[in-house]
Symmetry: none
Subunit: 201 residues, 4 copies
Amino acid sequence: MTDRRQTPPDANRRSEASRRAILMAAFELVGEVGYARLSIEGIAARAGVGKQTIYRWWPSKGAVLFDAFLSLSEGQEGDAALPDTGDLEADLKEVLRATVAELTDPRFDEPMRALNTEIATDPELAARYAEQLEEPMKELKKTRLRKAQEAGQLPADLDLDVAVDLLWGAVHRRWLYRSGPLTSDYADAVVKTALTGLYAR
Amino acid sequence: MTDRRQTPPDANRRSEASRRAILMAAFELVGEVGYARLSIEGIAARAGVGKQTIYRWWPSKGAVLFDAFLSLSEGQEGDAALPDTGDLEADLKEVLRATVAELTDPRFDEPMRALNTEIATDPELAARYAEQLEEPMKELKKTRLRKAQEAGQLPADLDLDVAVDLLWGAVHRRWLYRSGPLTSDYADAVVKTALTGLYAR
Amino acid sequence: MTDRRQTPPDANRRSEASRRAILMAAFELVGEVGYARLSIEGIAARAGVGKQTIYRWWPSKGAVLFDAFLSLSEGQEGDAALPDTGDLEADLKEVLRATVAELTDPRFDEPMRALNTEIATDPELAARYAEQLEEPMKELKKTRLRKAQEAGQLPADLDLDVAVDLLWGAVHRRWLYRSGPLTSDYADAVVKTALTGLYAR
Amino acid sequence: MTDRRQTPPDANRRSEASRRAILMAAFELVGEVGYARLSIEGIAARAGVGKQTIYRWWPSKGAVLFDAFLSLSEGQEGDAALPDTGDLEADLKEVLRATVAELTDPRFDEPMRALNTEIATDPELAARYAEQLEEPMKELKKTRLRKAQEAGQLPADLDLDVAVDLLWGAVHRRWLYRSGPLTSDYADAVVKTALTGLYAR
DNA sequence: TTATAATCGAGACGGTACGTCCCGTCTTGCG
DNA sequence: CGCAAGACGGGACGTACCGTCTCGATTATAA
């Protein structure tokens, strides 16, 4: 049941050293010259690798960059969970502040934008992204919210996907379009407003 | 207002026919081949125009595409305002449904994604985008919310920017990352959840 | 006879089946795609053989092709001799006509051209060619001429190398450069003219 | 009646400087690294030219090399004629010695072999070669022989093409296959033998 | 009869060059 | 002077092969 297309490369013979050199080179370069100027040619040269070795294992420079991100987030997840002190608002503020900090980190800003660009464009890559990075994270978020639901802090019929979109969508939008200052205060305001709602009471 | 570098092109002599042909060609092509494969060379050929005529008036293919969008939304704004029936929830739902409809329209999806990724990458273009398209739209949204504030439906100290981010951020995120079905129902859920807040009451 | 570099391949263990498959594949391919597009990679694939098996036993694709030719002409020589009816002119015409026929045969034309250009370029190969194919043939030709010398038909001080060059050089040149029709009549004319000389008498 | 294929390059706009730089680079490089290692890439780099500029005007590296040869022999022909002192044998010896000298000149040997290789392989190039270089030369040779015919030195029914093949074919063959020393003496022997014929008299 | 060492197929690897596309600049000739 | 046309030097694309280098899996001596 191992349906492979055409003559598949033999993954057993794959050079782990080359793989790592390529991912590292890709990540470095995208930070240095930006995604638009990132080239397979450049990655290969920096990694000390033949171009064919990249083309053999990745379908596009976006896919390389994606794996570079994946390999960064590898190992550090495991049994990770969002903080749960019982105080939902405080916990969410902490998490969103962390998100803001990451998006603001100059070391990650450029590559992350590049990855976002690629994902917005390439549905196949988007699917991999969703499955391997986004969904696990989202599950953590929903788990925390579900706890709050069980504690009666959130209504039982709340659509958790909508809730997550509300919270992270706002932050992400401000980051991506630079439509305003992206600060801890902003994160706090988003959490507070989302929790209590726009309506006056 | 005269700080132009070198000898500026004389806008009076500019060929309106060429300008329009270029913008149309750009918009069509981005829909056909995607932003990545869109080229100045291709636009010039399709528009029956010399490459120099494009380089004379636009700094990048992103800028051309941007103007193509601008020229689409031209004339149709004017005194536009968001609906105001007094029922804030109903009005917001109508507007967000319209947003969803536009983002879902296959004729606009590809070009819009292209524009978005370009804006995420190019800060200068992002500034023009903010000024010429985003801000006017945002002002309309805030105006409607301010009306509700004055009517006492929303608290006086509500940060309207956060409110807008909450509502449109969620929708935009779902569109850009295809992270779930983008439907009228979703728009409704976003509006309702944002207005009443996540908290159980 | 032991000056081989490194650990010499053990010819006893050599796979005769692979050797033959390689030579056959090389000969076929050069006829199909021409010498310029002939590749070791292609020969290996056609022969169902690893590339290393070729590199182990041959130094270049020219050498492979050369051996392919050698293996063709094997066995058919032995005690061969040129015809000797006593009539020098008739005998030479017969031989040159045969040469013309061979050069004209479409099955041999492409490969033969390939071999010739390779020999013109690679002196080492040229030496092997001279020794293993050209010299034996030339010796047969000179033997026939020497008989004629002994019979008094040719002057004793005639340089037989020059004579052979005159006769076969003309034919070969017309073939290689396609500088005119290569026919039996041409062969006859060459023989007759060379024998009697250009001078009117 | 100017049937051109597809969109022909506009020869009026062609850069003469680039053309010359390319031909010079090609000629130099073929002498330095040999034809096999000659590359379009290398020619472009040496000439300080984009690869496309070569591909725009020439179909193959062989064609470039060919034009490089053409441009060498340009201007120097004009009203050229072979020497005619009345002494056919002396005149032919002089000409064949010159041929030998040229073929022996190390500055020309490699490039000339390369050109020969290419011509033997590519019929289209061979046609151009025949028309632009070989035929004019051959015509000069035949003209000289025709003079001798008119003077009664050569029989009226002598096939001049065969005569030329006999003389130059022998020399050319010895050069191309390095089948023996290529000297003035050899040239003399060829002329003498061809004129008087092999037959003893 | 077994180890043991070389050959074999396969194909990944670091490279070079291919021929193509497009970049952004420059030049030419028309209106 | 703007324009269409398009040649130019250059950079990168994705592909084809180069010659070298492991991998097991056969073989065919030599212990």
